[in-house]
Amino acid sequence: MKFIPIFYVSANGDSSKDLISVLLELGSFYAVKPENPKINHIDILGGYIQDINIYKKALILNIEGSNSKRSHGWNRSRIIKTLKYLSEVSTLSPLSASIYLTVGKRIREAWRPQYIKLIHENLKKSIFTCNIDLFDHYVKKLEKIGLCVKNLDNRTSALSIVAWSTGAHRHGMALRQIAAQELAGKIFLQGENSSDALVFLTALIVDTYAWLPYIIKEREVVLTTELQYAVAATPLRELVDLMKCLNLPQVIQELRNKIYNSLKEKLKNIPPSRSIVNFSNYLNHLMQIILQDIREYYNKNIRTEALIGRLYILSKEIANKIKREKPKRILITLTEQTAPILIEIIHHEVKNIEKLTIIYTPQTLYNRLLFDEKLKNIINNIQYIPVPSTEPLLTKEILKENIKEQYDLAIVQGSLTVALSVLNSLYGCIDPSKVIFI
């Protein structure tokens, strides 16, 4: 099998249980959240694999844990079946990678009922496994370069894996942006384990600037349907033609190594950010590194950076608005690209946010759920207001009824049907100089 590895993540004990639980939760679009999975170790190897004439994503899983008849609930077999279902069948799930398993030892004769069942199912469905030696070979290859994740928090790891695995669609593009922003937050706010975060960031950059243009080249309809109005797709459009004369496996390997080494080198010894201004400058630095690497590799200028460009612009605007006065009451409208890190960076500087009002649409349901997970422990008073995105009369009326308090920072973004309704309701509730309309 032609496989190009891009990241490897490993977890033990409770951490492995947590990682698989969050991976299934985020990968299923919040349809499932396993309690206490019965595993004690997991290795996940992500990479690209050739399927007939196209390169797709693949996740190879090495899971150790109970498979016995007595272990009800989320045992190894159920976890793998769920991942395969999500990735290969469920149309609601963003997860989209071929799922492979490792085989630790050669089974010469299956005589235990659970083995017989396992073998039967695998043979019936022609499920091919990856030999553990081959798996180790790929892991060693990645270890040599440094592309192994050992200690990143599980939520960020799971989000990155799901985002990386997504196909060439609008929500997938947004998930890549969200994950990249969260990783930038890990690198610049916390500093610790930043090399782990760089592994996933590298995977997302390679996927965005190599695999996505490659797929767009292969499937032109991507641009005229899913990504038609996606501003983030602009730089990808600029790379599509180049992909026609390049060999994807080679591009992935070379770009992967170039990006990772460049990020590691240029971001080393950066102290954790102390302020939003600081954070914003770091983002700009990161953005320039990505743009320069892409320019050097492809010998082509791209005008905007797709993954963290938006967060950079927003953080700069916020830094300007809160220079003199720290906001306590904040309102934000979510777009598909908005990641919780945007509020975390404000909280990092302000500390005691009294109230946060979050306006979301069905289109940003996933973001709303991510916000809840990350912010519920740092901000006590969060109000979520769902509004329609294509029924603006209702949006206007709902907001008029629900926005009556004073705010001292409002981040108004997204489509004009929602954004103008928000502004309309905010009149008299905020000093206009505290509104970001972007």
Binding site: E25, Y30, S90, Q228, E336, P362, Q363, L393, E401
Partner: protein, 419 residues
């Protein structure tokens, strides 16, 4: 399966809502078909314990394919219903083994499809959010979303009031395992609502003697490759002008274009001009188009002063087709307002894609529609113009009078310019 047997459970239907159509939440803006339509959402009780079921009335053997679709959607419990009139032996030939089915009964609704259609004509998108969360997300997630919906303050609006009642009921089922009384949802009086206004009626109400329309078309990259979508702003403009031209003495129409949208705006202007000739619509039409925003602003101001000299406080309509860049929009609107200080200003935004609600029994109630993504032809004027009627009150953002002045005031302050 419910049966008339004293030893078995009695199923008491509390609410049965017809035609639940579930759209992917991440495809709201796109003109996408639904993920699945179920004939009913049934909230029932067995010995006072709540039960939420989906009902699927089987009328055709072909429907067995839906079982497979359900497998790709986590398969929420679906009760397949074969009534006496179902031809053949479908329930035996249907995809076996069926999980849940009943035969020789008809699906009954506590809310009739035509009543539901009227409710949803005033808003469906949040119902979709509610149904999606209820059926396809985990218990904790579903609870969060139901909580968001049920804890909002609602204006007096029929569809939102039903939405609120339904979310409170479902929350109670999920959290407390009890079904509250649902008199409001089932009350025919509560359902007695007026049909919403259509786009033509709304536009006609805005007619005055003199009108200036500033038209902001959304940016469509690679519009040359587009076969249908590129016509949305063009058709919208022509249909609006068609309504107004008969009622207005002086009608000015300005197509705005700046930045990356310049070329597409030029194309839109040209196409609108052609259609105006075809449909014999009279108006003073011109483009305010330049790649540079400051230059666009200058062109706009110069033109506005000229219009002002030819008119006597005309009404100003600012119309957005789809979406527009916020900064250029704010800047140009602030300048329009400044040039026509005494005029009444109205802002309208039309989305390209809307939820369309059908009143026809044989159709699913809710579907997505992009009514103006068509090619308007001269000999099909009537048919083409009827598409405009598909836009209902709920689909249009309309900000007028004092609200519009306040909004423009805020936009002016946001761009921080002295005008």
């Amino acid at each position: 399966m419910p049966q008339n047997n004293t030893n078995t459970c009695q199923l008491e239907i509390v609410v049965s809502i017809p035609s639940i159509t579930i759209f992917y939440p991440d495809l709201t803006y796109s003109f996408s078909d639904c993920a699945r339509e179920y004939d009913a959402l049934i909230i029932a009780k067995i010995h006072n314990y709540p039960l939420i079921l989906l009902g699927e009335e089987v009328s055709d053997f072909e429907e067995s394919g839906k079982v497979i679709i359900d497998l790709s959607l986590w398969h929420p419990p679906v009760l397949y219903i074969f009534d006496k009139t179902t031809k053949g032996r479908y329930y035996e030939e249907f995809l076996v083994p069926l999980r849940l089915f009943t035969k020789n009964v008809s699906l009954t609704y506590t809310i009739q499809p035509d009543e539901m259609a009227y409710i949803w004509m005033n808003g469906y998108e949040l119902f979709n959010l509610l149904f999606y969360s209820l059926l396809f997300t985990h218990y904790n997630t579903s609870r969060k979303i139901l909580n968001d919906i049920s804890s909002m303050r609602y204006p007096q609006q029929p569809s939102l009031n039903i939405l609120s009642e339904l979310s409170i009921c479902l929350k109670s089922i999920i959290e407390n395992n009890t079904v509250p009384t649902l008199d409001k949802i089932n009350s025919p009086k509560y359902m007695n609502i007026d049909a919403p206004k259509t786009a033509s009626e709304i536009i006609a109400e805005l007619a005055t003697k003199e009108i200036v329309i500033y038209f902001f078309p959304q940016l469509l990259k690679e519009y040359e490759k587009s076969e249908k979508r590129k016509y949305f702003p063009i058709n919208l403009a022509v249909l609006i002008l068609n309504v107004l031209s008969e009622k207005v003495n002086k009608l000015y129409f300005r197509v705005i274009g700046t930045g990356l949208g310049t070329q597409y705006s030029e194309y839109i202007l040209k196409e609108i001009k052609n259609l105006l000739v075809d449909f014999e619509i009279n108006c003073n039409i011109k483009g305010i188009i330049s790649r540079n925003l400051d230059e666009t602003k200058s062109l706009l101001v110069e033109d506005a002063h000229k219009i002002a000299s030819e008119t006597n406080t005309p009404s100003i309509l600012i119309i957005v087709a789809g979406d527009y860049g916020k900064r250029p929009f704010a800047k140009l609107v602030a300048n329009i307002a400044s040039a026509f200080r005494k005029s009444e200003l109205t802002i309208l935004v039309f989305p390209e894609v809307i939820y369309r609600i059908s009143k026809k029994k044989e159709n699913r109630l809710a579907s997505m529609s992009a009514p103006l993504n068509i090619i308007l032809k001269r000999n099909e004027k009537k048919e083409g113009f009827s598409q405009f009627e598909l836009f209902l009150e709920k689909d249009i953002l309309l900000i007028k009078s004092k609200e519009a002045s306040k909004l423009v005031d805020l936009l002016t302050q946001l761009i921080g310019e002295r005008i």
